[in-house]
């Protein structure tokens, strides 16, 4: 290892910027998962397949129908929102209503079944060919000595914008308030006239839409193919654990953190080890702080 590289501030800040772009994607993917988990307690393992559907929507709208890429992202969000609501209504709600003692574990296994079904249906319908878009935006800009492509900058900006909209939605709208109330105490929310089942359905739809947006946005990095969702789902699970399960701001912070850590480990170790480092990091956090890095929750152990 060349010590000059370690201490060169330009290289270090370039890696930092790369890491933040990477991290903004992770944060976006982790947000939806964290939202669903925080409200319903459901660990959605088919989140990666929602992501995969988002990449396909983006491809169809932006390439086959030749529309601007923002339209593709919008289409991915709308389609996945509806799809997510349908999944919740037809599958998750059935399981929740029966509400056995450990239905959450059953729901986890159910989403694994969904993952298998969706991956293989996609394989049958679309085939295994990778369909990608080389670049959403051309060109690059220089910030001081550091150069960044407009592509990456766009990803960063859209991700930030989506997160702000999500935050404002949960904070200020009636539905957002209902979601927060249900998250705090479903029984009390129901007593106050909130249709809890509908809130669950909306939330699942929103979570799926966030995965779809992430998929559409990242099509230049993850082209559309049936098993594309695997890497993203692992990263988003890692982000959600690091940030604390169900803690959406924590997921955003953890996403950025993980992105930066991975960018540095990609630079300083051989490629491939960043996955081991992520896994070890997650294991350590689960051992020492099961509630996540940014959570102050004490009391009952998970």
């Amino acid at each position: 290892m060349d010590l000059d590289l370690l201490l060169n501030p330009i290289i270090l800040s370039e890696i930092l910027l790369q890491g933040m772009v990477r991290g903004s994607m992770y944060a976006l993917m982790g947000c939806g998962l964290s939202l669903i988990f925080g409200l319903m307690g459901v660990k959605n393992f088919s989140h990666g397949e929602f992501f995969m559907l988002g990449t396909y929507m983006m491809y169809f709208v932006a390439v086959m129908m030749d529309m601007p890429f923002l339209a593709g992202i919008f289409a991915a969000a709308v389609v996945l929102f509806i799809f997510g609501m349908l999944v919740e209504r037809s599958l998750i709600a059935t399981l929740r209503k029966r509400a056995g003692r450990d239905w959450l574990l059953d729901a986890f296994v159910l989403t694994i079944g969904m993952m298998v079904v969706m991956q293989n249906l996609a394989l049958l319908i679309f085939g295994s060919r990778r369909r990608g878009i080389a670049r959403l935006v051309e060109g690059s800009v220089d910030i001081g000595p550091i150069s960044i492509t407009l592509e990456r900058l766009t990803i960063l900006l859209v991700a930030v914008l989506v997160v702000i909209v999500l935050w404002a939605f949960i904070k200020y709208t009636r539905t957002g308030k209902a979601i927060r109330a249900t998250g705090q105490d479903p029984d009390a929310a129901q007593t106050l006239g909130i249709d809890v089942n509908r809130v669950y359905t909306y939330t699942f739809g929103i979570g799926a839409a966030l995965a779809g947006i992430a998929g559409g946005l990242l099509i230049s990095i993850f082209p559309a193919y049936p098993t594309v969702g695997f890497q993203p789902v692992i990263k988003s699970i890692a982000v959600v654990i690091l940030g604390g399960l169900g803690n959406v701001p924590g997921a955003i912070a953890a996403g950025l953190l993980l992105g930066v850590i991975e960018a540095y480990s990609l630079f300083f170790f051989a490629a491939g080890w960043q996955n081991v480092i992520t896994a070890i990091l997650v294991v350590l956090v689960l051992m020492v702080r099961p509630y996540g890095l940014f959570s102050s929750a004490k009391g009952e152990r998970p």
């Binding site: 986890f108 296994v109 079904v117 081991v276 997650v282």
Partner: protein, 326 residues
């Protein structure tokens, strides 16, 4: 009414009724003679897969069905066992017969460590912890090609001859009967285990951790027992898997999530907490998968749909059908 006091039979003998003996003999006859008389390599291969994954699924059941411990990195443990035996032969020339045992020991150590680091975790948190541990094992194998040949694939020797029985690559029937013996030993061991006080403690731990603790049973200790024993059995069978297969590579399909999902599906379809249900569903699902090869990806769609159906409407799996069929 005679007052003759019949001597009390031991518990395990009381369960031995005539019909049960007949049923077991029929099943054993099926397992022993069908591949022998069919004389078809295809049938033998399918039987090997079915029994192997059935027993893997039964071991999985020991964790999830009895202890309530979900191991979502199970394929990583199979990888650890398989690679230990293969590498022991590859680098040190250790006989695979000892290697299989070493694989079991390696897995037991890993299982014990996994138990230690996840002592405080339950349910979903445990699933996530085990998932990342399994992936870390797999990625570590993939990232050290100088020892394991990584993604290039490691070719593994067939088992050496034992007592004059040849285990050359083509001797499928010999591999099958070896697997039957190993599988039977593992299944009988687990059956005895779950009927002992260990089994009771496992079930109590699954039902209610707090209540179990309050009865003076250390759930921590039994969790460690469960993981260690299940991992040891996994490692031994994984050693067989390595030498039977002949080539190992740490791809996701071989040792990642798809493999774990396959085994988990067999366990859930067979019925959790039954041990033997997994063997039946192993035959059902693997047989189905092999017979309908022409359907391609549709088979996996049906696999997933079956898992969803079991979760929604048939939580006991095949075991729920037992009273109608058998």
């Amino acid at each position: 009414m005679s007052a003759v006091a019949y001597p009390e039979k031991p518990a395990f003998l009381r369960e031995v009724t005539f019909w049960r003996v007949v049923k077991v003999l029929i099943l054993l006859g099926f397992l022993i003679f069908v591949p022998f008389y069919s004389d078809s390599r295809f049938i033998t291969t399918v039987f090997i897969s079915a029994v192997m994954f059935g027993v893997f699924a039964a071991i999985y059941d020991l964790m999830i069905g009895y202890g309530g411990l979900i191991n979502f990195g199970y394929a990583g443990f199979i990888a650890a066992g398989a690679y230990t035996s293969a590498l022991a032969w590859f680098h040190f020339g250790i006989s695979p017969w000892i290697g299989m045992f070493l694989g079991g020991v390696m897995c037991a150590v890993l299982g014990f460590l996994l138990g230690v680091i996840s002592l405080r975790l339950r349910g979903l948190y445990l699933a996530l912890m085990t998932f990342f541990v399994g992936e870390a094992i797999r990625f570590s194998i993939a990232n050290t090609p100088e020892y394991t040949r990584g993604m290039l694939g490691l070719s593994v020797a067939p088992l050496p001859d034992l007592f004059g029985i040849s285990f050359a690559r083509g001797e499928l029937l010999n591999y099958y009967y070896l697997l039957l013996v190993m599988g039977a030993a593992i299944m009988i061991f687990m059956t005895v285990l779950v009927r002992s006080k260990f089994g009771l403690a496992f079930k109590a731990m699954r039902e209610d951790q707090l209540a179990t603790e309050s009865l003076g049973i250390s759930t921590t200790r039994y969790k460690l027992y469960n993981f260690t024993i299940a991992s040891f059995l996994t490692g031994i069978l994984a050693g067989f898997y390595a030498h039977y297969l002949g080539i190992l590579s740490p791809t996701p399909e071989e040792f990642g999530v798809p493999k774990t999902v396959q085994i988990l599906t067999i366990t859930y379809v067979g019925g959790r907490g039954t041990l033997w249900g997994s063997l039946f569903s192993g035959f059902l699902l693997i047989g189905f998968q092999e017979y309908f090869r022409a359907l391609g990806a549709w088979r996996l769609v049906m696999f997933g749909a079956l898992l969803i159906f079991v979760m929604l409407y048939a939580r006991r799996g095949l075991a729920g059908l037992k009273k109608y069929v058998w």
